[in-house]
Amino acid sequence: MLQLLWLIPAIPFASTLVLALFGRRMSERMVAIAGVGSVGLSALISLAIVPAFLASGTSYTQILWTWMNVAGFRPEIAFYLDPVSLLMVVVVTFVSFLIHLYSAEFMEDDEGYARFFAYMNLFVASMVVLVLADNLLLLYLGWEGVGLCSYLLIGFWYKDPVNGLAARKAFIVTRAGDTAMIVGLFILFHSLGTLQIQDLMHLASARWPVGSPYATAAAALLLGGAVGKSAQLPLQTWLPDAMAGPTPTSALIHAATMVTAGVYLIARTHILFSLAPDVQFAVAVVGAATIVVAGCSALTQSDIKRILAYSTMSQIGYMFLALGVGSWAAAMFHFMTHAFFKGLLFLASGVVIEALHHEHNIFRMGGLRKELPIVFWTFLIGGCSLAGLPLVTAGYFSKDFILWGAWTSPQSNPAFWIVGIIGVLLTGLYTFRLIFVVFFGSSHTPVTHRPHYRIIVPVILLAALSIVGGWFKDSLVAFLNSALPPLSEVHVNGLTATLSSIVAGLAFLLGLGLAYLFFLGKPEYTESLMRGGLMRALHAFWFADWGFDWLYDRTLVRPFVWIATLNRRDVVDSAFTAIARCNQTAYYALSRTESGRLRWYAAAVGAGAVVFIGVILFT
């Protein structure tokens, strides 16, 4: 059964080729069967592999062929399966399948139907390659592949230049991180001589002492890549704009799977990060900062998808926090629950947007509770899971686990725990602000379009998973800990697990209560609050993502454009232009002599002959 591993990326890739080559000539029905069916098959295979893997042992490597063999550098196309990658593969393929099923209906009658599924399948194939890669170079291939698909899908409706701009922004900003990452790979290969992940980890722990400069540099550069891909501070600015893509894309790439690639990378190379405690601390700081920054920004947005984008950043911040304090399994567990509930939230918001004729502004929605009951209930479940409704939802269990790690682990710091609790409060606040504004109150826009079964089924399944996912916490964590070092609990004094959970639950309730007060019960409180100058300035500041876009525009984009304008006539090229100019001038001079007057020609011949004879005679 395990030999079928290679089929998981191969089937979607084959489907991409078919759709790219023959998509135009296929009917929509055929395209949907190819696009959704291929990912469905992959999901089935990955589910079928689970029991075989559990029976066989702790890891499995499948070597397909040698990629290249250059001067001792010998990466292989090989797939590595262990509990971490197994969890990733199952979640990625399964959530992808549900989202593909959803898009089969959502994208109906779009002129780029086949193109959309070709890109989506390519994305799934790349993501699975990234997750299963046995060496860092293959991982990088998948990494760039998902980046490419992200670019293509953000700019999917390319006729609007704004979408193209958002796509380029996403590509260029993540490129900054990718460059750091490839430099990190160079360092690793240069000093350890291999990129095979398992060998690399063994060699690193054998050769490098804790805190050695090489380990620190390599880990910091890998962190740069992870920060770019996972939209963490300070490279987070691309994610909100990435919402220009179709909603299923936002659900799949910019919420459930691709943006968590950074988390996976760090978990995969956790030994390296353990060798560089400074960098690991930086991971936690980045995560904690992102939780608060993105949470505050989410609080002020009015575009439903941008709110969800900021909440994605903030949730990935939690995963980074967990990685930073060495609570590896908690990060992976939160990745899984987040994939369920955030995928669900995006899909449900897609239905809302579609139903209201492409309305994104939440303040022009309202009263949808009765119009779209299924969407309301599933959205409520997703929102509760996101905010962490105690004891019921999956999101509560995973977030609670992270908070517990942030308090107890040796690398942690009570400040991280406090930031996490503030994050829970903010999450509750912005999530229920969203729900109250969209689904309660009075209706502003009539519902024009209602979803059918291909949209309803994935949404309900994901809603079920958003609750059920948390019940398997203990067995899943035990399973993950066979590949990742378990959380070591040292600072148990002062706070017990129960108390931490209770505080988290209270923070959730406080967020819910505040949201109820401000956005449903007494909206006049919000108005009076907004009347103050300080609050309005703060609102504008958070709305603009803490001024990061402005900062980058001023410090990077504008000087670049200025230099480009300055060098419009291209200094280097002028030398080559000069050669061409000389030839052109000579040509014009010579063509003047070709007057067509016969007597001038004869005179020139005669004069030439005289000069020639003269030269012969007098020398």
Binding site: R597, A602, G606
Partner: protein, 91 residues
């Protein structure tokens, strides 16, 4: 003698614009060359000079026939015998 003849032909070629005179001056120059060959052959006692003159004679006849034919076409086209009129053919 041959040099004088050649110089006369060349000068005529450069000065006259009438195409018939151009052909005639070419003829003069060819004959000058032929005279030079014959004279040189007599001077050094070779028969080659006279052979070359025969070649030149045959070539001149051919050249004149082609030249006159071209001349007729030119006259037909430009309604004049001015060879500078044909300068519109320049590349």
């Amino acid at each position: 003698m041959a040099a004088i003849l050649f110089g006369l032909g060349l000068a005529a070629l450069l000065v006259r614009r009438n195409a018939i005179f151009t052909l005639m001056s070419i003829e003069v120059m060819l004959n000058a060359a032929g005279l030079a060959f014959v004279a040189a052959g007599a001077r050094w006692g070779h028969a080659d000079g006279q052979v070359m003159f025969l070649f030149i004679l045959a070539m001149a006849a051919a050249e004149v026939s082609v030249g006159l034919a071209l001349l007729l076409r030119l006259h037909h086209l430009f309604k004049s015998l001015d060879i500078d009129a044909a300068s519109t053919m320049r590349g």
